[in-house]
């Protein structure tokens, strides 16, 4: 069942990127909404503390920490996971473009998207430079 290779024109690339962005944002918003409902149930009646900056606890600051907390069913971690999905959406868009330019054999734009991908991944795992 070999599929024939559909030529990946710029028009098709644009279509796929549009779908990717829409699905990513909807998915992220759904997860944040679900997390938000649990969060308000868990801590809706407590008092906010946003006047003074303390910074988030370490486990809500990193990709691995957020995913670990998901399994202990913390509502805040579920919201944070939704936000991670949201940050991942443009990153996925750049990675997909990298793949598409590679298939097109467009060397300049392979380098361009590769460089931007590296910067984005560095920003997420670089420990807050």
């Amino acid at each position: 069942m070999q599929k024939s290779r559909v030529p990946l024109t710029d028009e098709r690339l644009v279509q796929i990127i549009g779908t990717l962005l829409r699905v990513g944002v909807l998915l992220a918003a759904g997860v944040v909404l679900l997390g938000g409902i649990f969060y308000l149930g868990q801590s809706g009646s407590t008092l906010p503390r946003y006047q003074a900056f303390r910074g988030e606890p370490a486990d809500l600051r990193s990709v691995s920490g957020i995913i670990r907390d998901l399994f202990s069913f913390r509502a805040a971690a579920l919201i944070q996971f939704g936000i991670l999905l949201l940050i991942a959406t443009p990153i996925a868009r750049v990675l997909f473009s990298l793949f598409a330019f590679f298939r097109e054999g467009d060397a300049i734009y392979v380098l361009v998207t590769l460089f931007v991908s590296c910067l984005l991944i560095f920003s997420l795992v670089g420990g807050g430079i």
Partner: protein, 278 residues
């Protein structure tokens, strides 16, 4: 006021900001930080964290819709994203190293600039410019749809546009905004790209720029889930409604009103920054 009430207030305010931002084309992100800091006394760092998250959501959502129309130029966008993401990392690094009062004053300055730019009539010059060697080599020249069929355009001044994009990225990472106004300025004024191509391509780039800043903010603990949740959902829903409503609304008066609001917020931010209240 407990968290439940505060969340509702912030959600509703963000909804209004997103709605007006989409309707006027000025973006909702730019009023979120003043709204959170001046009205609710939220620390500037939490405010820029929540704002930047909402910027990714709205720009990615809108970009998906714009891509279908065929104005966005993805090659221009992706090339200039080198400059905006580098700038965003520099801006986010700066945000941790300067005082919140300084951030507030710079923010106020950008609000005043946005208010001024929104009062300027958009340029409608029709120019037939010769191809630029660098832009041709980067395959940036394209055409956009119009009533009389596809109209080709030639991109100019790539280095100048690149430099301005670096500044736009820095402001995005420093202030938690999309800085669409500076991006459009770079493409429309410096690179002489047609206005509709500039605005849609700018929107396309904002998500990637904001994601670079947001990654750093997340690692540094600026993104609070309880605060980012109502802001993101509010601005996102508001901007979707605003874009729907846009087709029927007369936006000229709204633009003036929103421009005045932005101007007043800018003065407030500068005043509160200088007097050390933020």
């Amino acid at each position: 006021m407990n968290i439940f009430e505060l969340t509702l207030f912030i959600w509703f305010g963000s909804l209004a900001a997103g709605f007006l931002g989409a309707l006027t084309g000025l973006g909702g992100g730019v009023v979120i930080v003043p709204f959170l800091t001046l009205v609710f006394g939220v620390d500037v760092r939490y405010a820029i964290g929540a704002s930047l998250v909402s910027v990714i959501a709205t720009s990615s959502g809108a970009a998906a819709a714009y891509l279908k129309e065929g104005f966005s130029n993805i090659r221009i966008g992706m090339f200039l994203e080198i400059a905006t993401t580098l700038g965003a990392l520099v801006g986010a690094a700066l945000a941790a190293r300067i005082s919140t009062a300084t951030i507030a004053v710079i923010f106020g300055g950008i609000l005043l600039l946005s208010a001024y730019l929104s009062s300027q009539p958009r340029s409608l010059r029709l120019s037939h410019l010769p191809p630029d060697p660098l832009a041709s080599r980067l395959r940036m020249d394209a055409s956009y749809p119009s009533a009389e069929g596809p109209k080709p355009y030639h991109v100019q001044a790539v280095p100048a546009g690149f430099g301005l994009m670096f500044i736009a990225g820095t402001l995005s990472g420093l202030l938690g905004i999309g800085s669409g106004a500076v991006k459009v300025l770079a493409m429309d004024q410096a690179m002489r790209i047609p206005f509709k191509v500039s605005t849609t391509t700018s929107n396309f780039m904002i998500g990637v720029t904001a994601a670079a800043g947001a990654g750093v903010y997340l690692n540094r603990g600026y993104i609070d889930p309880g605060l980012a949740m109502p802001v993101m959902l509010g601005v996102l829903i508001g901007s979707v409604l605003g874009a729907r409503f846009l087709i029927r609304a007369k936006t000229r008066i709204l633009r003036v009103v929103f421009g005045v609001v932005i101007f007043v917020l800018g003065v407030e931010m500068i005043y509160n920054g200088l007097t050390g209240r933020l």
